[in-house]
């Protein structure tokens, strides 16, 4: 199996762009913050897939994580909105222009606490957004309080122990209707990159929970979201091989050892099975897998669930092909006859 990754330097991608417009401003996050690594993978994925930044919108809520859209894809429009409400803003933007590619970045506090309501409904609607949770189990920007994804028994720097069960955002997303659900780790470059590229080929909500250690507040012994802990307890559910539609590569697996998924844009995703009963297109097994690894104190990473053919929200709404935002006057203002008819009916 082989996927060509571009060398650094003046390499240009499929649509003739250098990596520059995929980069963003200089990060103001802490050195070593997991969020920075995720930004880099996002840059790589969009560059390698040849997505035009001018067609991309980047959205976020509030938090260290939510700042990160400023640090990638400088050529794209960005919207750093308010705490926990990125889902509604992203939904509105995609309704306005369904031709855009939306990437939303949130934090575990931004999503799990104040934003869980909008999260639920975005998943349920299967709005075409790549929704990334940069998950560090704490509130980085407000100095390290526990977030709702903090594990039971995880310990804060100041010794406070978390005594509430975590919200598993992947289970929730699967349960609620998201059609592409994955979990990864900011330190796992290869896996994260494959997932992001696959997400760019999917039409519908791609919910990607990326464990992303907070080096300043939650990277110590006793934390279950530290680099060390995550490296030790990550359980990939299988290798991911992604073949974009514009590459002609054949992948060989022994029959029965991998699931092949054909994506919306013609790309192909090969998911190697680790356990025999692992079926990433079946909700129940996906949910059980997550729960079981959780009970073992581990966390399953990789493509957890995928439903490539599910209708996304703009399709459900039967929108015209063109962006609503720029329909010309004659298509959005009915004629004089319509007004006359309505007036007549009211006389």
């Amino acid at each position: 199996m082989s996927i060509t990754t571009p060398e650094p330097g003046k390499k240009i991608n499929r649509i003739g762009l250098e990596v520059q417009p995929y980069r963003g401003g200089k990060t103001t996050l802490c050195a070593g913050c997991g969020h920075n690594a995720i930004s880099e993978r996002i840059i790589d994925a969009f560059f390698e897939m040849g997505v035009d930044p001018k067609r991309v919108i980047k959205l976020s809520g509030i938090g260290c994580s939510s700042k990160s859209p400023a640090y990638f894809l400088g050529g794209a429009h960005g919207f750093n909105s308010v705490h926990g409400r990125m889902p509604s803003v992203a939904t509105g933007a995609m309704l306005a222009n369904k031709q855009l590619v939306a990437i939303g970045v949130s934090g575990d506090g931004d999503t799990g606490a104040i934003g869980i309501g909008q999260f639920v409904h975005l998943m349920r609607r299967n709005v075409p957004v790549i929704y990334i949770i940069e998950d560090n189990g704490c509130y980085g920007l407000t100095k390290g309080q526990f977030s709702p994804t903090a594990d039971l028994g995880s310990v804060l720097k100041n010794g406070v122990v978390n005594d509430l069960p975590p919200i598993d955002t992947c289970s929730l997303a699967i349960e609620l209707g998201a059609s592409f659900v994955a979990r990864s780790f900011s330190g796992d470059k290869k896996q994260l990159l494959s997932i992001l590229k696959a997400a760019l080929s999917h039409r519908g909500t791609c919910m990607i929970d990326v464990i992303s250690p907070c080096v300043t507040f939650n990277d110590h012994e006793g934390s279950t979201k530290s680099y060390a802990y995550v490296k030790d307890h990550e359980e990939p559910v299988g290798d991911i091989s992604f073949v974009p539609f514009f590459e002609d590569i054949s992948i060989d697996y022994e029959p029965g050892t991998a699931t092949e998924v054909r994506m919306h844009d013609g790309s192909r995703l090969f998911l190697k099975k680790v356990a025999a009963d692992y079926d990433p297109t079946d909700k129940s097994t996906a949910l059980k897998l997550i729960r079981d690894s959780g009970l073992r104190g581990e966390f399953a990473t990789g493509m957890l669930y995928i439903e490539p053919a599910k209708h996304d929200f703009t399709t459900l709404l039967n929108l015209v092909d063109e962006p609503l935002a720029t329909l010309p006057l004659e298509r959005v203002r009915p004629g004089r006859d319509v007004l006359d008819a309505i007036m007549e009916s009211l006389k």
Binding site: R336, L346, K347
Partner: protein, 618 residues
């Protein structure tokens, strides 16, 4: 038809109140009654006073017919139709002497008072005769009082039939049944009731070519004509009928002819925060987007409103006001969100508000709102109310819009050249309004944020960047004074007293002015506000008068407070307050009485006390 027992006839000037139980299907009978009078050429209005409940609680429907075109709520009920046993006693006791009561005979209401005219009607007996199917009787029964009134008030039965057919469309069976009830009612009245009250209807020509419509439907129509493309809403009384009517219109008139697909997206959001969030996302991405809500929703939209103000993202919010605070009286009317909306969200913010008074203005204001939203790149709040939104009003038919859409300052090559490098928040025109680009439009991208930013939209915590930016926002708000609909002014020659009002208060004021001028010898000038921020017309109007009454439907004199905040104290010292806030639409007599009382006081004393609002409430 001369009435026995009365000496004078009162023609085309009365109010009818029908007291029923909600969910009992009286709406058809009431609309038929309203419409038949309207068709006879007499100005009317119909107001539904209903409970916050689905079925089983008291409901009152009030029709006012007035030859002079005054259609505000009339404080006095001239003719009561008492169908609801539960409230009948109280309803009758509340009437003024001389009023007439049509009632369900078994209620024996005639024993309650001597000074009224009573018309007992054995509804159950009559309905049993015309409607064999006992299950249908409940629905048909109401049509009987229409028949009775047709006889008593001299309303043309043919007009009632016409109205009924219109109402029921193709349901031929139902029409037949209802017609029979109508006729039976009329027949009963003709045979058994002796006209003793003075109220009669005579044909006129004052409604020729006019329409009957609710404000929310008119607003919806305006939104469609404004080219709205994204609608996110959450159900709430009295707002829901705006988006719900819009859905109907859009499904009918805004499906793309060739593809059969929708040129719009309408989403029932999970709540008001999500609704306004979707509006802002869509507005940011270039769509004309809107939501509609009422007080509780407004309170929830505070945070996003601040984002819209500060990050400059367009959108339209309809606030169909109901009685607050909190859940309050969800099915009663008020103008109580003025102050809250004007300064919605923390920090230094000011919101632009539009204030339609008529159904026609609901239509035109909706179109203005989208233009202003794109011009000023911020949420525009349209403050209607339950009375306007859900009740039935006469209007001239609406005019087809001829202006193109104002999409505001979208960056183009010319602007880019003038600017040098694109700066999202660079004020090259000096009006506080800057140029924006839209994702996917190929123009330079920028980063939108609710946090501090400089002219180029970059993150900044610099004191000077902050000050420059918020001062520009203040400048932009000043610019808005030139763009919002100016007040409508009626200057009475020589009048020393002025009245200031807005929204549905207009109708009571109009009528009160005629009372004041004709009955009390007090001519008044009138300024009807149509927007906040105020235009210069307001201080100029105040300047021209000695005393001005700000009439509004809230407890705290909210619009007066805004004026006191904004205008020079030498002007605001002339302002007095007339307030009506019991949940019923304001009526002319209350306004007149209160103004006359205060005028008398003004004659006696000079100075006024400290507390605002000046003057007692109506």
């Amino acid at each position: 038809m001369p009435a026995a027992g009365t000496d004078i006839l009162i023609i085309n000037d009365f109010s009818i109140q029908v007291a029923t139980v909600n969910g009992s299907g009286s709406q058809t009978a009431n609309l038929v009654l309203l419409r038949s009078i309207f068709q006879m050429g007499i100005p009317v209005s119909g107001k539904n006073l209903f409970p916050s409940n689905i079925a089983g609680l008291p409901t009152w429907y009030t029709i006012r017919a007035n030859k002079d075109g005054y259609v505000a709520r009339k404080k006095e009920i001239d003719l009561l139709v008492a169908m609801n046993a539960e409230t009948a006693r109280e309803d009758v006791l509340a009437l003024g002497p001389g009023a007439a009561v049509v009632y369900d005979e078994p209620l024996k209401l005639d024993q309650l008072r001597q000074d009224l005219v009573f018309y007992p009607v054995p509804f159950d007996r009559i309905v049993a005769e015309v409607c064999k199917d006992a299950k249908l009787r409940r629905l048909v029964k109401n049509m009987i009082y229409d028949g009775v009134l047709s006889q008593l008030l001299n309303i043309d039965l043919a007009q009632m039939e016409h109205a009924l057919r219109r109402q029921m469309g193709k349901k031929l069976k139902a029409i037949e049944l209802n017609l029979a009830a109508l006729e039976a009612g009329k027949k009963f009245a003709a045979e058994h009731l002796v006209k003793q009250d003075p109220y009669v209807v005579e044909p006129m020509d004052k409604t020729q070519g006019q329409i009957l419509m609710e404000g929310n439907a008119a607003g919806a129509l305006g939104c469609m004509m404004a080219g709205v493309t994204v609608v996110a809403w959450y159900p709430i009384t009295p707002s829901s009928s705006l988006p719900e009517t819009l859905i109907q219109y859009m499904k009918k008139y805004r499906m793309d002819k060739t593809s059969g697909k929708a040129t719009f997206a309408i989403v029932q959001a999970e709540d008001e925060i999500a609704a306004v969030g979707m509006v802002l996302g869509a507005g940011w991405a270039g769509a004309r987007a809107m939501t509609s809500t009422s007080g509780p929703g407004i309170s929830l939209m505070g945070e996003f409103t601040g984002l819209s103000y500060y990050a400059e993202v367009p959108g339209v919010v309809f606030d169909i006001q109901r009685v607050g605070p909190s859940t309050g009286l969800p099915t009663r009317t008020a103008q109580g969100d003025i102050l809250t909306v004007a300064m919605l969200s923390h920090g230094d913010t000011k919101q632009i508000m539009l204030l339609p008074a008529t159904v026609e203005e609901c239509y035109t204001t909706a179109m203005d709102a989208f233009d202003l939203a794109e011009r000023f790149q911020t949420l525009i709040f349209v403050l209607s109310d339950l009375d306007l939104g859900m009740n039935t009003w006469m209007s001239n038919p609406f005019e087809y819009p001829t202006k193109p859409l104002d999409r505001g300052k979208l960056l183009d090559q010319d602007a880019l050249q003038r600017m040098g490098e694109f700066g999202r928040y660079k004020d090259i025109d000096g009006d506080g309004i800057t140029f924006r680009t839209i994702p996917g439009d190929g123009m330079p991208a920028y980063f939108t944020r609710g946090s501090g930013h400089n002219e180029r939209g970059q993150y900044s915590e610099r004191p000077d960047d902050y000050v420059n930016n918020v001062q520009r926002l203040a400048r932009k708000f000043e610019t808005a004074r030139q763009y919002v609909p100016p007040p409508v002014i009626d200057q009475a020659p020589g009048a020393r007293v002025g009245i200031i009002a807005y929204g549905t208060t207009h109708f009571a004021v109009e009528e009160s002015r005629s009372h004041l001028a004709n009955d009390a010898g007090l001519p008044t000038s009138y300024l009807r506000l149509r927007a906040y921020p105020f235009t210069d017309d307001l201080p100029a109007f105040i300047e021209r008068h000695d005393r001005l009454y700000v009439v509004e439907q809230n407890r705290d004199g909210q619009m007066l407070s805004l004026m006191r905040m904004e205008l020079d104290p030498s002007l605001t010292s002339k302002l007095r307050s007339v307030r009506h806030f019991n949940g019923l639409p304001i009526d002319a007599r209350s306004v007149t009485d209160e103004i006359l009382t205060q005028e008398k006081q003004a004659g006696l004393q000079g100075a006024r006390s400290h507390a605002v609002p000046v003057g007692p409430a109506v």
